[in-house]
Subunit: 343 residues, 2 copies
């Protein structure tokens, strides 16, 4: 049922200035994706001369006409909504406008997350019927992958918004991870239907009226266990949770170092298993997951970690391509429309 | 400044029927604490003949008069508030009543958490001025211990309640962990004062008006980093977070097993570092932390994990004793009174 034949060729814009190691990592990673995949057009947006320097320094070749100059850069510390107004020639604003104007299908950036969200929501705009766009994050579990929606696009979500996250998260998880009829759960403080806060209790009522594969509440421990495929929560909870999750790895590394420093035998033991540890923990590596999608926007928007490596950028670009191929925006629009009567 | 001389001898009640391995673990652990410490009176509440069997089977000695018979047991699956009404002769209700009637100072149980919370709040009652009692959880961090309030006593907390958690959490963390002037942070989605949801933003305004050592917002990653000593959050967030945290260890164990099963060399490597891993991960061991306190109740209430070992029970009883010695209930009452004008 691949309908790619009927589609125009995918056009992806990468924010060459986005990320702590830009333009180096953004340019190198994006061109790698372009060269490996070959099925989409790539546009690099940013300071043209800097981009060209990176291309030359890395012995890459890239069509000069597909570099779109943008003189300004929204820095990591800039206030997001203010920045997209005061820096109209920034790579993030120029990139988002290309999608808005249908000159591109997808925009990928490892730059200022808030600015990327603001540009996507305010410039590209929301899909009709979507109250709040949502950022999803993939998490490893004992049998594969769970996705968590929302992890930070929105706080104080209303029940209707959690319903939207469930609908959009289901489509993403099905299409991108190939999980048929993904199980959906609402993150709560107990499995019983009576457990939750006001918003989750009302949201569960709404989601129960859909044809989603909804199992009701799940708890914090169910995420890594893999009880469901799609975990739905307010962005306040989701954001705190993923940042806590990331810090667990840092804490373990700290404990290992601390242990190794306690003596020679300890050091030897840790050295022996260093590669094993790396293999065991690689599931937690954000680079593998190809950035996070901002769903509900009327175009494809993929947001990456500021510290994205070329590999992470490459995977983000490939993810954006996949989202285009799978018609995610249209499918989300249809699903939201189907349940527009639920409130 | 130890004022224990002026105090009556501490009287601790243990729910002998509480926990998955009751009465065995509860009775053995409590008597261990009693024998080791010797500075408090201990009462065992539950089915007297079963308690006596455990005492005999473990070659322990215990004054028969300090066993208080309670014929009913609130099971782990019982609906909490209903159970404390329909089972008036249960060990949890009888134990809570002893504290309510000032026949005991502290109640310790590893039984049904919800029932223990309900009995503590409804039978023992709240400290005057406390809107919502709170459960705290200690978490390891890179330099010691952080505490997290609330981790599940209450959802949909209002700003005033977060203020109460900050006040009570500060006293607990100072008195029990000996941290002078503990740093307090509100768990949020960004460090900037402007980041948060409606409740945390309003709560920060309130806490700023106290003399607490308040640093503002902290993020999910700050908990294990140890940026602050007391992390304040709604029980919905805290409960999800600690259950997620517990599951990280299970997930790592799963990954280690999975890795070991992939070949002989792998198995050997894991075997070599098994004891190191155990040492590194022992900070996460709930048994060391002596249960969780329910603060804001007009008496001492310590709640344990259902799977509590004798060692965990022992630490819970010793923690209850410490809370009594440090005058926690009185100190909380004073602090709440001091800020009763903030709303």
């Amino acid at each position: 049922m691949n309908n790619s034949d009927s589609k125009t060729r995918c056009r992806i814009v990468i924010d060459a200035m986005g990320g702590d190691y830009a333009p180096q990592n953004a340019v190198v990673g994006a061109i790698q994706a372009f060269n490996e995949n070959g099925k989409f057009d790539l546009f690099l947006v940013g300071k043209k001369n800097e981009i060209q320097k990176v291309i030359a320094a890395n012995n890459l070749s890239f069509n000069e006409n597909d570099i779109i100059n943008a003189d300004e850069v929204i820095e990591m510390g800039d206030q997001p909504t203010a920045a997209i107004k005061t820096k109209p020639n920034s790579s993030i604003v120029v990139g988002a406008k290309l999608v808005k104007d249908k000159k591109a299908d997808a925009f990928v950036s490892a730059g200022n997350t808030g600015a990327m969200m603001a540009a996507s929501t305010l410039i590209i705009g929301r899909i009709p019927g979507v109250g709040r766009p949502t950022i999803g994050q993939a998490m490893p579990n004992q049998s594969g992958i769970s996705t968590l929606f929302d992890v930070g696009a929105s706080v104080d979500s209303k029940p209707k918004h959690l319903l939207e996250y469930a609908l959009m998260g289901t489509i993403f998880t099905k299409e991108i991870y190939g999980i048929e009829n993904p199980k959906v759960g609402i993150l709560s403080v107990g499995e019983e239907d009576s457990k939750g806060n006001e918003v989750t209790l009302a949201a569960a009522e709404l989601i129960r009226k859909t044809n989603l594969n909804f199992v009701g509440n799940v708890e914090g421990r169910d995420i890594l266990k893999g009880t469901v495929n799609v975990v739905v929560c307010d962005g306040f909870v989701g954001n705190i949770l993923i940042k806590f999750g990331e810090s667990v790895l840092d804490f373990l590394k700290f404990k290992f170092r601390d242990y190794a420093n306690k003596g020679f035998i300890n050091k030897l033991k840790i050295a022996l298993v260093r590669s094993s540890m790396r293999e065991i923990l690689k599931d937690f590596d954000y680079q593998e997951y190809g950035g996070v999608p901002l769903l509900g926007v009327n175009g494809i928007s993929v947001i990456g970690h500021g510290s994205s490596t070329p590999k992470a950028i490459k995977n983000m670009v490939l993810r954006a391509y996949e989202m285009y191929e799978k018609n995610l925006v249209q499918k989300i629009e249809n699903s939201i429309k189907q349940y527009s009567n639920l409130n």
